[in-house]
């Protein structure tokens, strides 16, 4: 049920965005004012560069996600924005104001933590009222605005409870109410849904989106869950090793990754390393002696360049359907994994590569077993080419979603 709501929400978002390709640093169609600027931001811990020369513009009203594996620098960047970590160098500007050296309590930025950080000695209402009391608002105004914030997250009935009496999801909503009650222009979220179970997480994702549009606030969100990032964000910043790998709309990141890391980190991927044999808009890549893959690209790849051919599992056709494809390879089925709405077929190809095909479950019976010979295929347009990495980091095995 929650899944359906999420899909409907995405469909609605995609349709309002308009069709056609957008460049990487695409702007919001409605509002293109820059709200937050990170300029050449760096954080060094001794010899270790947690964040390295990071520059980023955040547009007003957008939902921007910092996505990356552990150690990528995304949380450090958020902490520098919040003021809890001092940058080694660089500047942070919010609404044109340089806040790099301002202490956290003067930045007027709302923040939601993964551990919620609710004050255990205060009731829910007092927790939400805290930022207003600190700003010396009158008692009546404080109570009214706190109740209003609670009604936005639909928790007015629990105003007199204490945090220890609430469930995880309820605590998260109180934390959100507390972060927005003083109407900050910028809201930071540090993996806020990490501690929730899958169904509740999906439900909260939709709730967060609705609340964000209602309040018209800029959100910078940190997560290592790429599905969450793709679902909720206007733009995603993929980070690794303290450096931005790619910034863009979720669709751009999935279909047009700029390097091997982004291709591998976002969604499931098949990657073939090879060398350019013929160039031009129609390209041939040799991945193994005598084995050629046919691809196309608008980018200029000279002959002899080493490239990675990116193929998404859902673009692979198997069996009879593969006979119509430009690219066809033979192999042996290693494993078939049933996931409910789809099945993943892992194939050991004759070239030595491993390929994963994702077959949508449309009610057909799959007569595939481990050990069967199988032919797989895909069209020229189904792949994407990226340059082979020199020193691009590889994502850790733990972050690879769905691989086995």
């Amino acid at each position: 049920m929650a899944n359906q709501a999420v899909h409907e929400f995405i469909r609605a978002k995609v349709s309002t965005r308009g069709s056609g390709e957008q460049p990487e640093s695409s702007r919001q169609s409605s509002d293109s004012t820059v709200s937050v600027q990170l300029q050449c931001l760096s954080k060094q811990y001794g010899r270790f560069g947690a964040v390295r020369n990071l520059s980023l513009d955040v547009f007003r009203g957008e939902f921007l996600t910092l996505l990356g594996p552990s150690g990528s620098g995304k949380t450090t960047t958020l902490m520098m924005l919040a003021g809890f970590v001092n940058p080694t160098s660089g500047k942070i500007l919010v609404e044109g104001r340089d806040i790099t050296n301002e202490p956290p309590h003067r930045r007027n930025i709302g923040m939601v933590y993964q551990s919620y950080a609710l004050f255990p000695h205060l009731s829910v209402l007092r927790n939400v009222a805290f930022p207003l009391e600190v700003r010396k608002c009158s008692r009546d105004e404080t109570k009214a605005r706190a109740m209003e914030a609670l009604s936005i997250v639909k928790l007015e009935s629990l105003a007199d409870r204490y945090p220890s009496q609430l469930s995880g999801g309820q605590q998260q909503r109180v934390a959100l109410a507390r972060a927005i009650v003083f109407r900050p222009s910028l809201l930071l979220m540090d993996e806020p849904l990490g501690a929730l179970d899958k169904k509740l997480r999906e439900h909260m994702q939709v709730e967060l989106m609705k609340i964000k549009s209602r309040l018209d606030v800029t959100v910078v969100y940190v997560t290592h869950d790429q599905e969450e990032a793709l679902t909720m964000s206007d733009r995603v910043v993929v980070m690794a090793d303290g450096v931005i790998q790619q910034i863009g709309h979720p669709k751009d990141l999935y279909e047009r990754p700029v390097n091997r890391f982004v291709a591998d980190f976002i969604g499931d991927t098949n990657i073939f390393d090879g060398e350019i044999v013929t160039t031009g808009p129609l390209i041939t890549v040799m991945i193994s002696p005598g084995v050629m893959l046919h691809a196309e690209s608008s980018k200029n790849f000279p002959i002899g360049d080493r490239v990675c051919v990116i193929l998404r599992p859902e673009r692979v056709r198997v069996g009879a359907e593969s006979l119509n494809c430009k690219n066809q390879l033979e192999g042996v089925i290693d494993r078939v994994v049933y996931i409910g709405d789809n099945s993943r077929v892992r194939v050991l190809l004759a070239t030595g590569n491993t390929l994963v095909a994702k077959l949508q479950n449309c009610g057909q019976t799959l007569s595939m077993n481990a050990g069967d010979r199988i032919r797989v295929g895909w069209d020229r347009e189904s792949t994407w080419l990226v340059p082979a990495p020199q020193n691009v980091p590889t994502p850790s095995a733990l972050d690879d979603d769905g691989s086995f």
Binding site: Y113, A117, F119, Q165
Partner: protein, 272 residues
């Protein structure tokens, strides 16, 4: 099956015997305080309240009790304030020589009190702090600070610092965050430390023997003199009163400890 039920019963019996052994002296003192005889007699053969009358009469016992209270309250204030500040520094910051500072702060409870007492006496005598209740306050504060440091450090180590961060992110300056978030949450620990400081001063006898002089005779010192100079059951009456006070204070400590646990654990504070 029989064995598993018998073992707990035997444990209960053994536990009760041990507890009885520990509190037995107290149960001897209390009846003696109500004795009619003018010497320590157990079991008492007659009942009388004359020793309580003497205690509250003009013999100096009541004055000593009030003096001990006065000193203990002032000591509690200073020791809790300084000890809490020291605990924050020790828990929150790193600086060279921190282990040495920690050792020095804790030394008063490690060094035997007789040595402390003699050293303090020779230090205070030329300063005219012997026989002066401020001298007692100073010495007792030094003895009580380590207790406060240990208890508050423990409380503070268990405090989730993200709460302070969250408070600051919401607009509270570090001082306001400390006052409205940190201190209220560790207040049961601070209160426990304060009670321990109070008891440390109120019950303290070794330093009191050296520093009392004639003008600052605390209750423990007067009891000590009573044991050496005249052994009447008025000592038993004084002891019974101190026992009663200690029991009340420990019940208070336990109540606060339970309350701080429920806040920290997240168990419901309000019954549903």
């Amino acid at each position: 099956m029989n064995g598993s039920r018998a073992a707990p019963f035997a444990v209960w019996v053994l536990a009760c015997l041990v507890l009885l052994f520990l509190v037995f002296p107290i149960f001897v003192i209390i009846p003696i305080s109500f004795s009619g005889a003018s010497y320590l007699q157990f079991p008492p053969e007659s009942f009388s309240l004359r020793w309580y009358q003497e205690y509250f009469g003009g013999g100096g016992w009541w004055e000593s009790t009030l003096l001990s209270f006065k000193i203990a309250i002032v000591v509690t204030f200073f020791a809790t304030a300084f000890g809490t500040a020291a605990a924050f520094a020790l828990v929150r910051s790193t600086f060279p020589g921190k282990a040495i500072v920690y050792g020095v702060l804790l030394s008063p409870i490690i060094v035997p009190s007789i040595i402390t007492a003699i050293a303090v006496y020779f230090l205070f005598a030329p300063l005219h702090l012997v026989g002066n209740w401020w001298g007692m306050v100073l010495a007792h504060t030094v003895l009580a600070i380590p207790l406060v440091v240990v208890v508050v450090s423990a409380s503070l180590s268990g405090f989730r610092i993200v709460l302070e961060q969250a408070a600051m992110g919401l607009g509270a300056s570090p001082a306001v965050a400390l006052w409205r978030v940190t201190l209220p949450i560790i207040s049961p620990g601070i209160a426990t430390a304060a009670l321990l400081a109070f008891l440390a001063s109120f019950d303290e006898v070794v330093v009191a023997i050296f520093l009392s002089g004639t003008n600052a005779v605390t209750l423990p010192k007067r009891m000590w003199d009573g044991v050496w100079l005249e052994i009447t059951p008025v000592i038993a009456a004084a002891s019974t009163i101190i026992i009663g006070l200690t029991v009340i204070l420990f019940v208070a400590i336990e109540f606060l400890r339970r309350r701080s646990e429920t806040i920290a654990d997240g168990a419901p504070l309000v019954c549903q």
